[in-house]
Symmetry: C2
Subunit: 400 residues, 2 copies
């Protein structure tokens, strides 16, 4: 399949949920009938969530500053990726998503623009925005808006990584609390993974970036690196990545190709867990990692077993959030990871569900909606919520 | 049909133009395949119009400041109307349209926000923005952006009114150059109709607003009223609407209910043309106008003959513009009106095509594309362009 041809004319289109076959339809969908709906919303603003696209539509927002492995290619070149993301939202979450590629890279302007167009949307998925700008943008928008906002490169990645790790730990008879973990990569994803691991109960997490082990007070730390360094490295351990991995149980790579050698793996604890998720070339190729003694190996690639793929998280997270949550809290993310992990009976070559397993997406949505309700951030999901979502997803799948 | 129920859950959804049934589809629609498309666009920016939604998607932008007859109800309450508009774009133009309701009513901020999200869109339809702010916003965006921008309340109305007038003049053996015309209403639509009439060749046009005949130097004129007063009323005629209509051939109302009396109609020229388009209650009810001697009567209502309805113009205009034009010039608008008028053999009770007549929409698109090319503002439309558009519209209609 020629990718260029596949994308010609764009991948998304608008469809109607209502019939427009005669003048009587017209007079309800548009004037004069629509005036009644507008009047109802102007009298009771929360009805916008019931009678408009806001009920099921999110924006996939980028400034094109950190797109895939391509870097800062700008809003136009980012658009095919955002469209693809929107498709995945629909295909696996029955979430209507629309790409918003903004022409500015100033965090304050991005926030302002997104806030100004927010009336139409029931949620905001931030995407491919470079660190550390992404942290500030997300934080400000979460505070400013009354709809869920999530930067997927951070939290989608964190949720799926945590889910995969739950199962990998189970397979190697470990638990999160007592395992020693090293994360290579202190960008948006690396820091978010560190944060969720700590929230989920991990006690020994060390972060590395291209300059080695992240420690508090290190020269050139941005405020976000400094903050996470203080949380993860209270003893101010210094050294290289090689020093960091020695004796450790888990390696989580969100960094650069081929930086983990076989020797480094063989110096880790017995039966180490290796998540080498740099794309498209991982920190270590799975064959090598296994040869060096790795017990469970995951990558970001679809041509190897155990693909840690965000698409297992974001559609279900926003499905659940649109239905029941106003904020995507840490509790919600962790419960989503647990739901995802428990969808399958893990094996070494299958620690995470298949992307086309619609039950997994429905389970994530269910966990989000339930936890939102239990923790007081959302509405009570209806009875049979899981079943209803699954039915929706199957109906949508049939259209693809 | 209960309007509220009809609108529940919103009227628009996202659909996919591509298949997503297996991992191989995924790897083309999203990573890694999509990277090739992004790379191509980053090397050759104009390819964004070929390989993304920009090829066929416009924004329907409002600030909710002048929605239908409801006034300044804000962005949320405006959303059902914008969604309805988006549906009409799809139904009658195969244009994918997405509602953008902005949370600010400052012209400069609206311009900035629209410009910032413009990478995704192939055109901008401004909607229900109050005068005189709408003039400045449109003018600035037209200048700033390299995609077509049109405020439909002005130009959609102007095109359909001109089309209807062409046929009404024909039926009453008049021509535009020698007819005397009075326009009641000097808001966005009234001024735009005056402008297009002058461009199309009319020489005697007088505008009235609630304070009577608009004349240069009148106290309280905003700059737009002053400008059009200078163009239309060089002799500085003063007086009431009653004075203005006396002896005139054509009355065009875009103003307020019941302001034109039978007596005023009977004081007009022989066989006068009355377009009473205030909504929902016209300047004069058609029965009355006919009783008073009107030869041809049109309104904005669907329950009377000769409904002057913008939906006859905007889908075809943007269809043609997306295919071939970068600006929607006066020449383009006039050619669209001519095309619309010539779609039917006019009769007194049918001076304008039916909204569901897809040929009319395709003719408008054709006129736009052809004129854009002939006047150097667009690409040459392909052979059989009309046929191709008509086929597209029929295919879309079948889905509604």
């Amino acid at each position: 399949m020629d990718p260029l041809r596949f994308h010609e004319g764009g991948k998304l289109e608008t469809a109607s949920r209502v019939k427009l076959r005669n003048k009587s339809h017209l007079s309800v969908a548009y004037t004069p009938g629509v005036a009644e709906v507008s009047r109802a919303i102007s009298e009771k603003p929360e009805l916008v969530k019931k009678f408009t696209v806001k009920s099921n539509t999110i924006a996939v927002v980028t400034d094109g500053s950190a797109v895939l492995g391509l870097g800062n290619i700008g809003p136009e070149a980012a658009l095919p990726v955002m469209e693809g993301k929107c498709l995945l939202f629909k295909r696996f979450g029955d979430v209507d998503a629309f790409p918003i590629c903004v022409k500015t890279q100033k965090p304050r302007e991005i926030v302002k623009t997104v806030a100004e167009i927010s009336p139409v949307f029931g949620g905001i998925n931030l995407e491919d925005i470079s660190a550390p700008r992404c942290f500030e943008i997300e934080k400000t928008l979460v505070k400013k808006l009354d709809i869920p906002v999530m930067h997927d490169d951070q939290h989608g990645t964190a949720v799926v990584t945590l889910a995969a790790l739950f199962n990998a730990l189970k397979l190697t008879d470990r638990d999160l609390e007592t395992s020693s973990i090293v994360i290579s990569g202190a960008g948006a994803a690396g820091i978010a993974v560190a944060e969720i691991l700590l929230k989920a109960g991990a006690r020994d997490v060390l972060l590395c970036d291209s300059r080695g082990i992240l420690h508090p007070g290190r020269e050139g730390n941005n405020p976000y690196k400094e903050r996470i360094a203080r949380k993860t490295n209270k003893n101010r351990v210094k050294g290289t990545l090689e020093d960091a991995v020695r004796g450790r149980d888990v390696f989580i790579g969100l960094s650069a190709p081929n930086i983990l050698t076989e020797k480094m793996v063989s110096n880790m604890a017995r039966d180490p867990i290796i998540f080498a998720m740099a794309n498209p070339v991982p920190e270590i190729m799975p064959e090598k990692a296994l040869r060096a003694g790795a017990s469970v190996v995951a990558t970001g690639r679809s041509d190897y077993p155990n693909q840690v793929n965000n698409v297992l998280a974001f559609p279900g997270i926003f499905r659940g959030a649109l239905d029941s949550a106003t904020k995507i809290t840490d509790e919600i993310k962790i419960s989503a990871a647990e739901a995802l992990a428990s969808c399958i009976k893990p094996k070494r070559r299958k620690i995470i569900p298949d992307v086309f397993d619609l039950r997994a997406h429905a389970r994530v949505a269910e966990a989000v909606a339930k936890t939102a309700w239990e923790t007081g951030s959302g509405e009570k999901p209806g009875k049979n919520y899981f079943r209803k979502v699954l039915t929706r997803l199957r109906r949508v799948a049939a259209k693809f």
